[in-house]
Every structure is written in C-alpha cells, then in structure tokens.
Amino acid sequence: MRNSSPPALIRGLVFLAVASTLLFSGSALAGSRILGTGGVSAIEGAAGGGLSPWAVLTSTASEQEVGATASVSRAWLDDYRLTVEAASANLYDRVEVSVARQTLDLETLGGELEQTIVGGKVRLFGDVLYHPWGVWSAGFQHKSVADDGIPKVLGAKEGQGNDVYLSASKLVFNAVAGRNLLLNATLRNTDANQGGLLGFGGDSGGRQWVAEGSLGVFVTPKWVVGMEYRQKPDLLGAAEEDDWQSLYSAYFFNKHVSLTAAWLSLGDIAGLASQNGAYASLQAAF
C-alpha cells in the first residue's frame, strides 16, 4: 500500500525547497520568529530534533501568523531503512498539527512496516528565547500501523495507540564558548513498541512514562549540532528494544529550508542487534 514512491516525493520536495529559496529568499511569507526556533521535523511529524518532539512549534510563525512545513527523512540502518514523509502547520504559535507516514523496509527480514501518525501540540506558555523558563508545550500523537500482522506475532496487543507528552525547550544565550545552547526535555506516556512500528502494548508491561532529552549548540545562527536521547518502553518479550540516541547537525539555509544529518544508534530492533546508521532530513517551511 504505497501511495507515492519516496524518490518522486524527494524530488518534489527538493524542487519545492529550491523554488521557495529563490522566490522567498527575503522575509516575505516567512514567520517572524528567529531562524532555527522552529526546530526541524521529528520522525513523528512534530517540530523537534529528529528523534524527539520539542516544545517549540513548527515553522517560524509567531503571534498573528500561520506557518506550514513539509519534510522527507530517511534513516539507513544496518538491517532496516526508515522513510518518513511529514507535514505540519502552526496556527498563531499556539497550536501545531502534524501528520507523518513512516515506512520501515525490513531489508534483512523481508517486507515492510508502515504507520501513520497524526499529532497535535499546544504551547502552554513561554518563549524559547525570552522567557526565563523557556517554552512549555503539551502534545499527543495518534498512531496506527497499516498492518498489525507482524506486530501481533511479536506479542503486541494493539495495532494503534496514543502517546501524550509534556515538553520544555530553552535557549541559553552565550552558554558554550560564546555560543547559544538549546536544551529540550520531554516526558512521554506511551505503550508504543519501536515508536509504534511494532504495535502497542505487549507481554512485558503496559503504558509508562519515558524521558527524552536533547541539547544543541548553535555554532552559528544557522547551524546547530548536538545530541538526542530517547528512552523507550520495552514491552515485547520476543523483541527487546533499547533507548534511542543520535548525534545531529542541522543547517538552516534560511527560514524556508533546513537540512539535518545525524548518526543514529537505535539498539536492538525486532530481534536484530544494535542498529546504527545515518539519517538525513530535508524540510521546507512557509
């Protein structure tokens, strides 16, 4: 059940990105928030750093502005390949809605797993730059796998599930060698196995709170490098899973185009040990 082939979508997105850079290289149609303060597209569609959602809302839309993003991401792991196509919208820097479709190609085992994630995030209070406590947001993600056959064979109880999370983000000016430091922390309540690709619930436990965090140093106003950590439940006796971590580098060409590259260490996935690999993500924002 593939609606569009990823290469065609990537070509489309690259075209979109280049066209938007050429057309809107000024501030026209861009939000007024400072470059980089919308993060990039996390693999579940929300604004974040890649693996984990952040409290900032997508794009650079501020009060009285709206914004939208489209992104395509891919991870090349030892035995798997993950493709994510996502889109998100920001209404007045208060509400974010997002949708993402993840396809995990089981290159060693054969076949593929697919899930769709619809998400929402509300900014509760604050600002990542100006508020002494940073920005705080609450969000949810409704996830459903396209085919729950493999997840249920491995012991998952459901083919769909819901995550809720509370997230805080804060930029500390002049923190490291004169550079600004971006801190993020997220608490998530979830019963998703491998983010949901292996279903929800299992024989080894149920819903639980997990912690996610990241830090990033803005080497320049356009370039941030850092690391992320995402704790995960471990509910399937037949397919143990590990916490995820990444080292990332994101470059904001302007308010319309960003490119993220990362090194992922995702641990065991569906019985195959220590999955590492590269990650790339391109986002276009309006």
């Binding site: 939000g31 007024s32 928030r33 400072i34 501020s62 009060e63 009285q64 502005e65 820097d93 600002d127 730059l129 100006y130 508020h131 002494p132 500390v172 000016f173 002049n174 923190a175 490291v176 060698a177 004169g178 550079r179 600004n180 430091l181 140093v217 320049t220 106003p221 690391m227 950590y229 590990d242 916490d243 971590q245 080292l247 260490s265 641990g267």
Partner: protein, 144 residues
C-alpha cells in the same frame, strides 16, 4: 544499553570549552563590542532596517528618532557594563499600550542581530548582548 557512549565525551567537551571561555581577565562586554562607536553604528544600522519595515516603523511615528537613537545607545552601553547610565523611562512604561505583539518584537530582535553582524560584532558578543536584553521582553510586553 549504551547510554553514555556519546553523552560523556560531548558533555566533557562542553565543560572544557565552558571553562576556557571563563577567563577572569576578560574585558567588559562594552569593550569587546567595540565601545561607543560600534554601538552607535549598530543602532543606526538597526534603525535603517526598522525604517524599511512598515509594520514596525509605525511605532516610531511620534518619536524623535535622534533622541531615541541616543537613548537606546546609552541603554546598550549601560547593559554591556560601559561608562553610561541609562536614566530614561523603565521599559514597561516606555512601551505601554503601543500594541506591540510577539511578531513585532521578534522582527526588531532580528534587525538588531543583523545590524550587529553587519557592523562586525563577533558572534560571542552578539549572543552575550542578546542574552542580556532577552529579559526585557517581559517588561516591554507587560502593558501591551
């Protein structure tokens, strides 16, 4: 589980660079910015950007721009530990009931950052000055 494979070296690197940056003999931010001449240039550069933005320039319609430039430069000098004393009105009263929203505020911050960049202020000093100005957001927005 390999929690600390990346975390430990990165945190160590951050800590080491942080220590290196905390030099006790460092001159004041005012001096590192380039003193009053750079501050005056930054303010002038910023005001040209404001003048080009119809949505922001309206807030200066009843303002004597020379007086504003001098007051803002004095404030930047004061907040960067320079030999000045800002004695104008407090930020909440100076901006009250102007109808400034986050979008306007962000644009002026961007103009100031771009002005500092164009006037040759090093990034570390840009960040340090923006960090000292950031808490003013609450005062400026209090009575909108």
């Amino acid at each position: 589980m390999h929690v600390h494979r990346y975390a430990t070296p990165l945190l160590l690197a951050l800590w080491l660079t942080g220590c290196a940056a905390q030099d006790a003999t460092q001159p004041s931010l005012y001096t590192r910015l380039g003193g009053m001449s750079t501050i005056d240039n930054v303010v002038e550069n910023m005001l040209y950007r404001v003048a080009d933005d119809p949505e922001v320039v309206v807030f200066f319609a009843n303002t004597n721009i020379d007086h504003f430039a001098e007051a803002f430069a004095t404030q930047l000098c004061d907040i960067s530990d320079g030999p000045c004393q800002y004695d104008g009105p407090p930020m909440d009263r100076a901006h009250q009931h102007m109808g400034i929203n986050d979008a306007h505020f962000n644009r002026v911050v961007e103009y100031l950052a771009d002005a500092m960049e164009e006037e040759g202020v090093p990034l570390a000093e840009q960040n340090e000055l923006l960090g000292r100005l950031a808490p003013l957001y609450e005062d400026i927005m209090r009575r909108q």
